[in-house]
Amino acid sequence: MLLEVRDLHVEFRTRDGVAKAVNGVDYGVDAGETLAVLGESGSGKSVTAQAVMGILDMPPGRITGGEILFQGRDLLKLKEEERRKVRGAEMAMIFQDALSSLNPVLSVGDQLGEMFVVHRGMSRKDARAKAIELMERVRIPAAKERVKDYPHQFSGGMRQRIMIAMALALEPALIIADEPTTALDVTVQAQVMDLLAELQREYNMGLILITHDLGVVADVADRIAVMYAGRIVESAPVHDIYKVPAHPYTKGLLESIPRLDQKGQELYAIQGLPPNLMHIPPGCAFHPRCPMAQDVCRTDEPPLYEVNGEEPTRRSACHFWRECMNG
């Protein structure tokens, strides 16, 4: 495994109390593999990624338990200087909003080149040449002329390409993309996802794709981890989960997508709202919204059951995963 997150816990101390954002997350990704982390806002999917990258705001955030093993080393035990060498060089992140993630007063060439100056000790001139090369790799037209341009002079799709170029600069082993195409239009989104998938194959990188879009997941992922209230509720290979979900939350999400044959009928909707992270319901966090909930769900927190007979491994955090898969 390239990256393995084990039993990670993160909480935020706020004036109003402690928000438990991540409550025991386990996931892993191999080289060349794409893991999609699916969840709604507040599910903890971005916080987990920030903990992996080491860019969590601490305080108010606090990692209260768990391990993050990257190429065998526990990142949480590293000193900040060592951690900084990993970040950017060995793992990189692509953010949702390219405009606010890029520095508005530096040209994109300077920002791309900075990676090489800081991490590789290159001269500014060599770094500039590298920047142009990278911009060509992500297919920005007229890279030589545009290297001096500032972020606001690029379109949304082009800016996201620059973010990808920046993440790729030092050829990291792992890329975390947090909603990389959410801010883009459909036709541009397809261009950017294609580019990302192609570069991933070429460099044999591990990719963690954080998203709320079931369509994007189906298009590119190998495995999915579905998060709810700071926990993984289901993890499985992409084909299995879309064929037969093993958790009522996943099932609800899939059923709420408008389908052709349901036109004119009421859409399936998951009742209620995602929980407040300061008051996560006892037992299974999903039970107040779950159509299958029984007494045991209100009291006992379900472990991640192995969904048997399935290879490669598939897990579901539902006491009634059998019933869920059968009905």
Binding site: T187, A190, D213, A218, D219, H239, Y242, S256
Partner: protein, 351 residues
């Protein structure tokens, strides 16, 4: 078709671009809406889809009179609302209400829910006399599925989905006939989107509403719409019944847009034929001559640069009666895909 309640003819909105401080001179214009026509029938839902910058939200604003058109007319039951003023205009505006995209910024944080939903009654006191208002607001809260006791709460005490319900209640307050909804669910979580869509569906039959539903999410638009218009750079490029547009698109832009939408089905990803458009949408200050889509179109020929294609049933389909015979603004409209750049030479696979 049922009785037509709203007609839009040759609608334009150009924003001038000025240069100079003392002597302003116009150096160009942003052509946000550049000739849009459509009709809305009573009880019908018209979906308008398009990417950002295509002018769909500007159309919405003109429908509710938040923006004045540069040219063209919007007729509500035959009356051009651009020519009305005073009392007559107020009466029309009462009947066309809007639901906004972002429930976080479209509700005043310093007003209680009761004041927000009741505010329309201040402007149109004839709908509800003063003493009656609180009761009316509570009724509305109940209609949109919120607890009527929440009337004294503030917007921050609600979740995104609940806030959108408040926005919808405000839109309903004056009992309008038409609701213009601009991306009403795109700011909401997936599991909450379906709840709001269902609510809008129920309200439509309950109050005999007509919707203009603007969104970029194609699957949601298909679910809710009777007819769909596809916009590109300020114009409708293709329009028809939902099945005509989604199953038999003839305009290349619609075809590309539909093929680019990620489908929530991993089995489909291997056999799906995708058209990936190159480049970005051109700037609305400098719209290409002829067909405005030609700079990104794989079928573009000389004729496309010279002649503006009209939104009409293409000649090839004019005598056919099948689902392909709907309005499409393309010189080379075809029902079957001729895939260009993305996969040269490969024939489309029919499932």
């Amino acid at each position: 078709m049922a009785e037509s309640i709203l007609q839009v003819r040759g609608l334009f909105k150009h924003y001038p671009l000025n240069q100079g401080i003392l002597f302003k001179k116009q150096v160009g214009s942003v052509k946000a809406v550049d000739g849009v026509d459509f009709e809305l029938a009573r009880g019908e839902t018209l979906g308008i889809v398009g990417e950002s910058g295509c002018g769909k939200s500007t159309v919405a604003k003109m429908l509710v009179n938040l923006e004045k058109p540069t040219a063209g007319e919007i007729r509500y039951k035959g009356e051009d609302i651009g020519k009305l003023s005073g009392k007559a205009l107020r009466a029309v505006r009462r009947n066309i209400q809007m639901v906004f995209q972002d429930p976080y910024t479209s509700l005043n944080p310093r007003m209680t829910v009761g004041d927000i939903i009741g505010e329309p009654y201040e402007i149109h006191p004839e709908v509800a006399p003063k003493g009656d208002r609180r009761g009316k607001v509570q009724e509305l809260l109940d209609v949109v599925g919120l607890n009527p006791e929440y009337i004294n709460r503030y917007p921050h005490q609600f979740s995104g989905g609940q806030r959108q319900r408040i926005g919808i209640a405000r839109g309903l307050a004056l009992r309008p006939e038409i609701i213009v909804a601009d991306e009403p669910v795109s700011a909401l979580d997936v599991s909450v989107q379906a709840q709001v869509i269902n609510l809008m569906d129920r309200l439509q039959s309950e109050f005999e509403l007509s919707y203009v539903f603007i969104a970029h999410d194609l699957s949601i638009v298909r679910h809710i719409s009777d007819r769909v218009g596809v916009m590109y750079l300020g114009r409708i490029v293709e329009t028809g019944k939902d099945a005509e547009i989604y199953d038999h698109p003839t305009h290349p832009y619609t075809q590309a847009l539909l093929s680019a939408v990620p489908v929530p089905d991993p089995v489909a990803r291997e056999r799906r034929e995708r058209i990936i458009l190159s480049g970005d949408v051109p700037s609305p200050t400098n719209i290409p001559s002829g067909c405005r889509f030609r700079t990104r179109c794989w079928k573009a020929q000389e004729r496309c640069a010279l002649e503006v294609p009209l939104l009409a049933v293409p000649a090839e389909f004019r005598h056919a009666s099948g689902p392909a015979a709907h309005d499409s603004a393309c010189h080379f409209a075809e029902e079957t895909l001729t895939i260009g750049r993305s996969a040269p030479g490969s024939a489309p696979t029919e499932e």
